[in-house]
């Protein structure tokens, strides 16, 4: 237990020291989130002013009691007029904010041409990602990490395989639910290269807290290189330990749930591990991908992420080592 929390605590250091705000609505990395930030600021300012005004009136009302209270019909009438005026003003504010909201909605809905289509399926408690392509042999599956090119519109098609999840990358766009039996989609464009974080926002059971993924925004060229690398089969084991790990992987329970292309393992119950070594995190954004964390995760997934669907498969220390080495080598 202590080991895992220590492990978890060294994640930021490994990923990007001090990259606070990688999951924040106030630090937009793209056009849509930028619009939303402006809207948030507008509403905050207007609401703040309204609150201040109300408080001022309240304070003044409480203050002036010392100077004698005017009574009588005239004061009542004046108050009635003031209340009427305040009501009218609030109607105007409401109309203004509603219009601003409409305008923002329309701005967000204007999707760009030739979007990159990424299909995301939420499962308890990880994300399956399919990069779509007109040519089927260039479609591929990955999990818990998406790469997107900067500047190109991205269309994320959302589906849920079990319960409702919600896709929320606040730096890039608002959230959209993944609902069993319904199709949803979300479009955004990323302006700033960088690392963003996305997290499930709809309560989805035990490990709702640990259902995140990284969004890597990079220039088109490096994105294309990444994509070609993902389409290719992973490298063959290049030492005896990795080869032994591969044998463990295909021979033990791993192969019943996971896929590594180029091996007989083609299960789809868990994340596709073809290029797991190239991903920054494992366990849906929980641990950095290192040989050590892989070994820790495989050795005791239920302590690290209680209730998740990965069983604790009995392995010897040698098997565990070899397996971790093999998985880490799947770049």
């Amino acid at each position: 237990m202590a080991a895992t929390s220590r492990l978890a605590s060294c994640l930021p250091a490994l990923l990007c020291a001090g990259c606070g705000g990688w999951q924040s609505a106030l630090q937009p990395g793209g056009e849509q989130a930028g619009h939303l930030k402006v809207l948030i600021q507008l509403f905050t300012i207007v609401c703040g002013i309204v609150w201040l005004l109300v408080m001022l009136v309240l304070a003044a009302g409480l203050w002036r009691r010392h100077s004698g209270t005017p009574t009588g019909a005239a004061a009542e009438r004046r108050s009635a007029r003031l209340v009427g005026a305040a009501t009218a003003a609030s109607v105007l504010v409401i109309i203004g904010l509603t219009l601003a909201s409409y305008v923002a909605t329309h701005g967000l809905a204007a999707a760009g041409a030739d979007p990159l289509v990424i299909r995301v399926r939420g499962s308890q408690w990880w994300w399956e990602v399919t990069y779509m392509d007109p040519s089927p042999d260039r479609t591929f599956l990955t999990a818990n990490e998406i790469h997107v090119p900067v500047g190109r519109p991205i269309r994320v098609e959302l589906a849920a395989s079990d319960v409702i999840h919600s896709f929320w990358a606040p730096n890039l766009a608002g959230k959209q639910d993944l609902i069993p039996g319904r199709d949803n989609a979300l479009s955004f464009t990323v302006d700033q290269p960088g690392l963003y974080r996305e997290q499930c926002a709809e309560f989805c059971g035990l490990q709702h807290a640990h259902m995140a993924m990284l969004i890597v925004a990079e220039p088109a060229a490096s994105f294309d290189a990444w994509r070609d690398g993902q389409i290719a089969e992973p490298p063959a084991p290049n030492d005896a330990e990795q080869a032994a790990g591969r044998l463990v992987f295909t021979g033990k329970a791993c192969a019943a749930c996971h896929t590594v292309r180029g091996t007989p393992a083609a299960g789809t119950l868990g994340p596709d591990l073809t290029h797991v070594g190239s991903r920054r995190t494992i366990a849906a954004g929980m641990l950095p991908t290192t040989r050590g964390s892989l070994a820790a995760w495989i050795a005791d997934p239920q302590t690290i992420k209680p209730g998740n669907n990965m069983p604790m498969v009995p392995l010897t220390a040698d098997e565990l080592n070899a397996l971790a080495a093999y998985l880490a080598s799947l770049k």
Binding site: L206, G251, A253, A256, L269, D300, T303, P311, V313, P314
Partner: protein, 178 residues
């Protein structure tokens, strides 16, 4: 009044804590002990692991474990051969007739080691604990009496009445399997 409440609560506790508890992590020694079933020669019948009895047969009585078993049923392609229990390449399991007996050990062994007429062995594909979860569920789907701990329907195409309300023999006419 309070004493009676306490008594009632105690009774409810005894019944309920077993069937609702969620043990998300099984200690490796326990997990290992769970697989230690004694099997009769021929692979039919036997003695369940001592730890299973000590825990109160959670894989037959605990709602969470049974529900996990139900999820494994589809995940590990059981439905490919047995459909929703009605059978296809594999025999029906809902009809209350068992080739190798309805007890947990026989079901466990059938899944773990396979059976000659096409039932593949799942040893090494599932852990012993998962096989036990699955066995409990399979037993519930062909049980003679309905169980409130058994799961209800899935969010999928309706195939048949759910386990918690459809015991194999009681609720329906017997002559169903042909």
């Amino acid at each position: 009044m309070r004493a009676r409440h306490l008594l009632l609560a105690a009774c409810a506790f005894l019944v309920a804590c077993q069937r609702e508890q969620r043990d998300l992590r099984t200690d490796p020694p326990v997990a290992e002990a769970l697989g230690q079933v004694a099997v009769m020669p021929g692979g039919i019948g036997g003695r369940p692991a001592a730890i299973d009895r000590a825990l109160g047969h959670p894989y037959q009585t605990n709602a969470y474990q049974l529900n996990q078993g139900k999820r494994l049923w589809d995940w590990f392609n059981c439905s490919g051969c047995h459909a929703a229990g009605g059978g296809a390449s594999g025999p029906a399991l809902t009809d209350g007739s068992w080739r190798y007996g309805p007890d947990m050990v026989s079901i466990f062994v059938s899944i773990r080691d396979g059976r000659p007429n096409g039932m593949p062995a799942f040893r090494g594909k599932l852990t012993d604990e998962q096989i036990l979860q699955l066995s409990g569920y399979v037993q519930a789907m062909g049980a003679e009496t309905a169980s409130t701990a058994a799961p209800s329907r899935n969010d999928t195409m309706q195939a048949r009445a759910s386990e918690n309300r459809a015991p194999a023999a009681a609720a329906f006419p017997k002559q169903v399997s042909r």
